[in-house]
Amino acid sequence: MITAIALMSLSAMTLTLLGTTIFNQSRRTQMVCEDAQLRQFLIAGATFALSHIQQNSTGEFSIPLPEISADHSAQLTVQINPISPSRITADIEASIPHHRLDQHLIFTRENGVWQISQARLGR
């Protein structure tokens, strides 16, 4: 009787372990997918910031996202702050429910052309 109970407990432990491992791995896979999506948003945000900087437009912007992203309450905001006539920073934040990613960009003007001189990806 005791052995049978011990065996059943062991089986339950095994199943719990398996379940936990599968759950963790699926959550990790989901996080990787979401991270990739958020990085795509950040790249889009950088392009948006560059085009606005070239037009001397600064301030905070919320970028409309495609339907498929908007369905999941995704948001992309860009804040452009001029530091000097040849130096501008942009903070870009992409978020979906329970997950966000940001980057800090420094744009510098060389030979009349704005370009990214530093890109710090948030953690």
Binding site: L10, M13, T14, L17, L18, R39, Q103, S117, A119, L121
Partner: protein
């Protein structure tokens, strides 16, 4: 008059019971062993995944800010950061991933880089392990600065 009552078990009954007990305990031992092994391998998988994620996160941050990427050999990558410093990523013979910055400070992730190799294209570093889909890690700076001459 009382009927004759048996006062014990026959040798056949005892042998059968013992055989069943042996089979039962062998099965129980096997289940126990499997549980312990599963627990250990599950822990190993979690540890490796966590280490790999940590290394990839750092590599992604480094490459994101890269002004130039070169791959002297498939087991090392040289990343020129936007601030002018150089970061070196190496995969050693024990399959450790090692990151060294300009001040020679190193970070190491143990035993995660079996069969890993680096390649590069115009604006990204590609990490392959010959099993899964290669990871393409993009440089934001190189991507936005357009095609090189």
């Amino acid at each position: 008059m009382r009927a004759h009552q048996p006062r014990g078990f026959t040798i056949t009954e005892i042998l059968m019971t013992l055989s069943l007990l042996v089979i039962f305990f062998a099965a129980a031992g096997e289940v126990f062993r499997s549980t312990v092994l599963l627990g250990k391998s599950s822990q190993d998988v979690c540890d490796t995944a966590s280490q790999t994620d940590s290394a990839m996160r750092q590599l992604r941050i480094d490459v994101w800010n890269a002004r130039a990427i070169s791959v002297p050999d498939p087991r090392s990558a040289r990343i020129s950061a936007a601030d002018g410093t150089t970061l070196l990523w190496q995969l050693d013979t024990q399959n450790n991933a090692i990151r060294a910055d300009a001040a020679a400070r190193t970070q190491q992730w143990d035993h995660i880089a079996a069969n890993w190799s680096f390649t590069t294209d115009a604006d990204s570093l590609v990490v392959s392990d010959n099993k899964s889909i290669p990871q393409r890690i993009i440089s934001q700076i190189l991507l936005t600065s357009g095609p090189k001459p």
